[in-house]
């Protein structure tokens, strides 16, 4: 098989991806693409990026063998890639450091970002403070209410948080509003997109910054286990932590790749965010990909207990990996994810993010069907401190 080399020059992954934006943004995206292509292989840039990841983010993140949980499940061994141990508590910061360094090279003094649960907003506000840049974060008004602690975190870091009142007042509307800001202030502003979606070059660029996860894992697996895992498992909202782990393994056909979407209250209901499993291809937010939409092509509100997975689209590269069968995708309900959250707390003393709990829940299900000598590597993409209020509420406990 020919080695995987997507996207093409125009940012296409098969029929997916591309640059579906209004004319006003085309030159900004062209400029970004040219600048990124320049620094993508620039040794000095890459060295600075690596240095920041090591000393500021705290990389490499370890692979931890969840022995007690694996024994409890009685099947395959579950290994956790500990992105939860990064500065700011999730994989998101790998990407914001990369994009902020690029923004500095491009002479942009202002960064903007969209955020759902607030993790990407916090990671953006963090790097803005680190590099002395102005930061404006767009957040759906509903999410501002649900994630008050993260809103305050962003403000402490010096960012301005703008509640978005339009549409469904959630992540997709925050993305619309950030795009509008960018169109208006394109000269001094760099838009840091938080996931592998949006117009080219974002899906490629965010992937590249996140591949540090998979590159480290490959080396750690070889050094510590003398072999690669049988399967990689990661949650998929937009899909950046998943692609970061998967991408370096893409040509290793004997390593399975499994993305886990949010089934919310069940994929048979209309309360889910399982875009790849239940959506149809279309165009939104600058790229062609699977979307949750009605028969008229209107985007439908999604549901997940995890705000980070609550998005009606998905990165175009995942759409392609699904179509060609290189990765497979499954879905896990709110209840299953919550169950995995509690289990990991009790068996390993690790509190996972609700997003990551989806990957864990699938891993638990899958491990039980496999022999004890199989290895499943799960991306533990973030820590769960931010979710304590949600979990307490779902358990009927008042804090």
């Amino acid at each position: 098989m020919k080695a995987y080399d997507l996207p093409d020059k125009q940012g296409h992954f098969g029929p997916y991806g591309g640059v579906f934006v209004a004319e006003t943004l085309i030159s900004a995206l062209d400029d970004l693409r040219v600048q990124y292509e320049r620094y993508q292989n620039d040794e000095k840039f890459q060295a600075e990026f690596a240095d920041e990841l090591n000393h500021y983010v705290g990389r490499p993140s370890p692979i931890y063998h969840a022995r007690r949980w694996s024994a409890h499940l009685g099947g395959a061994q579950i290994l956790l890639k500990r992105e939860d141990l990064n500065h700011t508590g999730a994989h998101k910061v790998n990407n914001t450091v990369g994009q902020a360094l690029l923004a500095r090279r491009m002479g942009k003094s202002r960064i903007i970002a969209e955020t759902g649960a607030g993790q990407h907003g916090v990671a953006s506000a963090t790097v803005a403070a680190r590099y002395g840049m102005e930061c404006v974060v767009y957040m759906g008004a509903e999410d501002v209410k649900r994630q008050a602690t993260n809103v305050y975190r962003m403000k402490l870091l010096g960012a301005t948080v703008v509640p978005v009142e339009s549409g469904s007042r959630t992540l997709k509307d925050a993305l619309n509003e950030a795009m509008r800001d960018w169109v208006t202030n394109v000269e001094n502003t760099f838009y840091i997109i938080g996931t592998v979606a949006g117009p080219h070059p974002y899906p490629m660029m965010v992937r590249d910054f996140q591949t540090v996860i998979g590159n480290e894992a490959k080396k750690q697996m070889q050094d510590e286990y003398g072999r690669q895992p049988d399967a990689l498992i990661a949650c998929v909202g937009g899909g950046s932590n998943a692609i970061g782990l998967f991408y370096p393994y893409i040509n290793d056909e004997n390593v399975r790749m499994i993305g886990v979407e949010a089934a919310g209250k069940g994929i048979e209901t209309d309360q889910h965010a399982a875009t790849l499993m239940k959506g149809r291809p279309g165009v939104l937010h600058g790229n062609r990909t699977y979307l949750i939409q009605d028969e008229n092509g209107q985007i439908i509100e999604t549901h997940s207990v995890s705000a980070g997975l609550d998005y009606p689209g998905v990165g175009p590269e995942h759409a392609w990996l699904k179509d060609i069968g290189r990765a497979s995708y499954a879905a896990v309900t709110d209840d299953e994810a919550l169950d995995a959250f509690h289990t990991l707390c009790r068996y390993e003393g690790i509190m996972p993010a609700l997003e990551s709990s989806h990957a864990l829940a699938y891993a638990a299900r899958h491990a039980q069907t496999l022999d004890k000598d199989k290895l499943l590597l799960v991306n533990l993409s973030g820590r769960g401190d931010k979710d304590m209020a949600t979990v307490a509420e779902m358990s009927g406990i008042k804090l």
Partner: protein, 273 residues
């Protein structure tokens, strides 16, 4: 010659500029749209841009987004919009109608299906905001198979080399976005528009319309001196939004007449058709 070309040729012969109002189909309720289109023509519209409502109108400001939300409350879909054009054609076979909207409703219907149905309903041109020329070779082919114009945007951020490329694909008229921002903004810089249009004319032979940020007779008049057509959207939608239901037609009609008069004043023609 199709309706769009015929319209611009006739206007040129009279030394007049085109007035192109934009409304969102189904705003504020579906029964309003065809009467509004007729009122717009009566008040001096030369071409009508009819917006297809979309849940995520990324390039639009709050005014047009709200109009989309009102239409979507009535579940107005692309098929309904096309039916409205067909209904409008029962009494008006001369005024060009251009559908304007976002890619996903078209993708959901299928590009070829869309083009065939648009032809059936006698649509003259289509502008899909998030189908830039790079992504839509097959789309333009489909439209042209059914003799529908593919209309494209150009903006203050479009570099000259790209203007030349877009000019090769563009049909009907060019929609020049007058400012860096979204629809409904209010910082139109006339001298910048003037400079850009001079540049554009060296690449482009079809008419150029200017839109975004035109809010009153004075700006409409100033823009009409520079461009072949003046596009007004958000200001009309504000009028729909704030008028009591029984007065929408009269108020929108009066607004358009005042814009028409302002444009015609600058061209030595006092008639308001």
């Amino acid at each position: 010659m199709n309706r769009i070309a015929t319209t611009f040729t006739a206007l040129k012969a009279q030394n007049k500029k085109a007035l192109i109002p934009f409304i969102t189909a189904g705003d504020s309720d579906p029964s309003m749209t065809v009467p509004l289109m007729r009122e717009l023509v009566k008040a001096g519209a030369d071409i009508i841009e009819l917006g297809v409502p979309f849940s995520d109108p990324m390039a639009d400001g709050p005014t047009i987004q709200r109009s989309s939300e009102r239409a979507l409350k009535h579940h107005v879909g692309l098929r309904d919009v096309m039916d409205m054009v067909a209904e409008f054609r029962k009494t008006d076979i001369n005024t060009p109608v251009v559908l304007m909207g976002y890619a996903n409703p078209v993708e959901a219907m299928g590009q070829e299906n869309f083009a065939a149905k648009a032809k059936e309903c006698d649509v003259d041109g289509v502008l899909i905001v998030d189908y830039p020329p790079e992504e839509c070779a097959s789309w333009v082919k489909q439209l042209n198979r059914y003799e529908i114009d593919a209309i494209f945007l150009l903006s203050p951020t479009t570099p000259p080399k790209r203007m030349e490329q877009v000019a090769k694909m563009a049909q009907g008229y060019i929609y020049y976005v007058s400012l860096k921002g979204v629809t409904g903004a209010s910082h139109l810089d006339l001298s910048e528009v003037s400079n850009m249009l001079t540049q554009l004319r060296s690449f482009i032979s079809i008419p150029i319309g200017v839109g975004f940020g035109i809010r009153d007779g004075a700006t409409a008049k100033a823009v009409s001196v520079l461009a072949d057509a003046v596009v007004v959207g958000s200001r009309i939608i504000e009028e729909i939004e704030k008028s009591p239901k029984t007065e929408v037609l009269a108020n929108v009609g009066n607004l358009l007449k005042s814009l028409r008069n302002a444009i015609d004043e600058s061209h030595g023609s006092a008639s308001c058709r």
